[in-house]
Assembly symmetry: D2
Homo-oligomer: 220 residues x 4
Amino acid sequence: MTIIVLNFKTYRESTGEDALTLSRICEGVAREYGVEIAVAPQTADIGRVAEAVEIPVFAQHVDGVGFGSFTGHTTATSIKEAGAKGSLINHSERRLKLAEIDAAIAACRSCGLKTIVCTNNVATTRAAAALLPDYVAVEPPELIGSGIPVSKADPEVVRGSVEAVKAIEPGVAVLCGAGITHGEDLRAALDLGSAGVLLASGIIKAKDQRLALEDLVTGI
Amino acid sequence: MTIIVLNFKTYRESTGEDALTLSRICEGVAREYGVEIAVAPQTADIGRVAEAVEIPVFAQHVDGVGFGSFTGHTTATSIKEAGAKGSLINHSERRLKLAEIDAAIAACRSCGLKTIVCTNNVATTRAAAALLPDYVAVEPPELIGSGIPVSKADPEVVRGSVEAVKAIEPGVAVLCGAGITHGEDLRAALDLGSAGVLLASGIIKAKDQRLALEDLVTGI
Amino acid sequence: MTIIVLNFKTYRESTGEDALTLSRICEGVAREYGVEIAVAPQTADIGRVAEAVEIPVFAQHVDGVGFGSFTGHTTATSIKEAGAKGSLINHSERRLKLAEIDAAIAACRSCGLKTIVCTNNVATTRAAAALLPDYVAVEPPELIGSGIPVSKADPEVVRGSVEAVKAIEPGVAVLCGAGITHGEDLRAALDLGSAGVLLASGIIKAKDQRLALEDLVTGI
Amino acid sequence: MTIIVLNFKTYRESTGEDALTLSRICEGVAREYGVEIAVAPQTADIGRVAEAVEIPVFAQHVDGVGFGSFTGHTTATSIKEAGAKGSLINHSERRLKLAEIDAAIAACRSCGLKTIVCTNNVATTRAAAALLPDYVAVEPPELIGSGIPVSKADPEVVRGSVEAVKAIEPGVAVLCGAGITHGEDLRAALDLGSAGVLLASGIIKAKDQRLALEDLVTGI
């Protein structure tokens, strides 16, 4: 099933109380249109968002450390207990070392959290897929926040990622992101073989977030 | 007033539900003995801990970024809205770049959060104090988790830090940490001029956390 | 052909003038025994080592940045012009982000430098191989500098790495490292399918570096 | 005495052989006009630049680690043995953690290397000065490479830095940088109390590097 993941980033429009409001809008659209929408609020907001809505809540980042003498880290257990169902890992605004990505995937897997590893090109998509996350989300950094959809500006990076992953790990689903805003962008992404999209500003900074989401889901 | 800051780290005994239990113990001891105890749970736990207790809740880490296109960061606003009163910054297990420490202090200051910048020796204590946080907490990394109290093992780093800060920024209070467990360790820290202590395993890993805390506060 | 890569790290015995002496020992043994030995001195020593010996000189680290406004980075071009034939990438003491590893490999490839990407387990070995370096060198971090050879302590990580790479990128050669010192350690590594070894303290800290190297090469 | 520090970054025009050519131009201008010019080439170029010219050679970055099991680090000893007289530390393109800056200064001091710690505003300048380097160089990141001189665009950050350092560590000299190109920019910087300038593209990317340098030194 196609998945739409909305990364709340640290936008004013998706922090604290506003994270709740936006999550409820996502839940409403998901129900009405029968689509799967996951929300990824800031770590401090996971608990109340997860209490307020029934759609899946993802963390924006998780560290591959377990219980112990670690300070300022986000453990898989802590986000799981707060209600998260999964986490983004290695977003272009929070890149991780290779061994950290592997450890974060392992930590999530061991407590039943889904993982979406973000990548920047076909080569890193292949490498990330080799680590066996649930999803890889390819996002050319230069298109993030640009409003120019990756599915139009760089279809080859999506198609190439889908093929590369199919060749080495067909069980890993490929998402794409960067510049996705409208239904036609999502449609194009799916046509290229993507299993869904990761997006942020196109919806969050829209004048009417619900209308923007409704436009988006027409692409499915 | 002397302050005791309990860093929950990512210990099993202080994560999720256990973070609530431990916070209530801290609140109980703080009330009964009339001392100030602040708790620093993981970011995902801040919300429910802050709802459950009235003692100050601190984050373990905060990023100096504001609203915008940032993923996986912990903003001052998000922890403030979740109920935090302040944050540790630059803990030895989560060291930051100099410019990031400055930005994190500024971000906290602008939304009314207290700041405790951790340092490793007299020189970095001086440097951190020059950035005007509320507190600097000096902790020789080799003593963290050792059970050997800094106030006994290295009194000079505490005394030197207190003097160095007094000379350049008398408004900044100096805490110390690493190996602090018992009342006598705290007493020794105060005698060296420290305004309080930062501690973790000595209490959290104790067989009886409440008894351990009660022993500790006899030092005041 | 079996390759032995000697990582000079920042040991006193392999810095500055001593880097020259050690490199000449390596060259002597390589010639006398007809084996391939590459040396990896600190960046500042690459130039004079490369002038002094004819065996391959590798950098210990390279950044994936090109010409431009970058300060304090080690570019592929700069080490190439200094005489290097390749570089270690992502050593356990200098871990890189996934996208940085990819960029570093690309930068080296574009100027004809060989690449050896270090990894810590089978999963990261697979991921690194997917990025198409010349070599992947698997080294369980806990065995580095231990004197306990990976080929004996953890043969499965070597065998598993060799198989994993063969399955997805047979053109990438697998090295192993950590604790390798004697000829029998090297022999065991080769028997597990490794194309060579990466080592450091076993030779560099030996009382007689030449004797230690001669012992090692008996394993081929 | 006024000092001009030319950061070679990783520009094509200042890498490898071109680093030698540019260093000789700097040496020629320094001699002819009786001014002090230091050059900061890439680490791999330090050795041959230091052999070719008699003006001071600085590294662009140094790590605060000593002899031992460290890979891919630039030690103070290695650059010293290659001929460096000092190092930039914490450039905006290579920011370091607070404890790393302190360790790097200590490592340089212990082997007689001069230190220039780069900072981004008055607060971090104060903090850096508290660590007792030889110089602090304040450079607002947004002006680096802009061609808009800090001495004109933001004179307050220079004046404020000079005053702040004078108040807590009068023995530390303050440089400024970002956008400095012409003699009048340098003149303005000196008038604000700066002891010199740190610059890069204004000279390195000039059509005629020697002419650009000659223009610059008219400011002294």
